[in-house]
Symmetry: none
Subunit: 121 residues, 4 copies
DNA sequence: GTGGTCTAGACCACC
DNA sequence: GTGGTCTAGACCACA
């Protein structure tokens, strides 16, 4: 379900985080459902335990998931509509768009880009 | 002319690079005009020499500027309409937009964002 | 009679322990009365047997309850006024208060907090 | 300046965090002042780099300090009066006091405890 | 030099 | 079994 791109500049833990958010978004992971354990996911992805742990910690700090000691991680109640996460994502877009515009990229190009990308979701 | 934001997550060298491109874009720096020397700009910005050096190197690799040994750095011929730079900027936007969309941000929000940002240029 | 809060950071066995002490305190469990069996309580609370076992062990070590092999656990003689337990509880409060004070919390805030909490008992 | 208690149940990173907050509180560390680097503090305390890193990360998430890549960590603007930190500290006290009261500790004992502790700050 | 990411291994408390 | 803490080491990007 989760695919990693080691050649990407995005850190592994970030990729794991994003894809879990995506799965929660899509309703694949429903509220209060248990996520794969840190160890299990690490083994499955061929990645270190600490890397998955980092991803889970960040997700927990964003209130996407919560942990219960000795039990595991679970999807939070309103995880699918998390304003914090969307706000951060928008901020990243804002920076990128702002930079692109200042370099002479036309806004029409950006509109086309978004239109094209939103069809592949 | 160049303003740095140390609190931003964008690296300093990147900010320098972007703002030089912006100035070239705007016609403030015309082709074959000499840029401030690495040391001078570093002193002016209160930044490490290596940081400016890095920015200039990246600009040179993108064919925005060129260097003449012992003379300094100069704005390249067609610097104002550099496809490589725009392509890279678009790629960054693509990644950010793609990530935002996968996290449930609506494309209308992105359109509004771009519209708002493009008015401030 | 015992209510667990899985979202709390307090371990489950600790919650069970505290609430049994509370019930003993209140006179709901009188000396030499038999407590529910480990298995029964575990089943009732929907909790692992080892968790209840752990709680009972800790209670036994604090002389709140005692066990008779093959018969079960019973409330100890002077369980309602157990100095060891109160001492430990005070030590926890001491650490928390000490930490809060060092972080700039005013003692008036702490007084108010205690006043408010002691009315809900 | 920072003293660790390895025998305490409080994690090392937590102790570092608390003592830095205390130093900020006391005005020893003023806003925008640079903290010792992760490596330097780790060496000084005889502790692993990751442990200090963890402490700094938590402090950063609480807006007590901020980081600048390649430069270090700095005390945040209004670090000395951080509501988030005080709120969390109060919550810990609340839990401890609530537990102590339910175990039969008298509120007068708690008042005396706080009075005594607040004189040693 | 700095912080940021990642790995590989350990030990602990909890369930 | 689970997550939480800690260690010891590596490599990278940035200043």
């Amino acid at each position: 379900m989760i695919v990693l791109d080691y050649s990407a500049k995005t850190p592994i833990f970030e990729q794991i985080k994003e894809q879990i958010i995506f799965l929660v978004q899509k309703g694949v992971f429903l509220p209060n459902v248990r996520l794969p354990s840190i160890r299990a996911l690490a083994a499955q992805l061929g990645v270190n335990v600490n890397t998955v742990k980092h991803a889970y910690q960040v997700l927990e700090e964003s209130d996407i998931i919560y942990s219960e000691l000795g039990k595991g991680f679970f999807v939070a109640q309103n995880a699918a509509d998390n304003k914090k996460v969307k706000g951060e994502a928008l901020e990243v877009v804002r920076a990128a768009v702002s930079s692109a515009l200042s370099m002479g990229v036309k806004k029409e190009e950006l509109f086309n880009l978004i239109e094209a990308l939103s069809e592949n979701i």
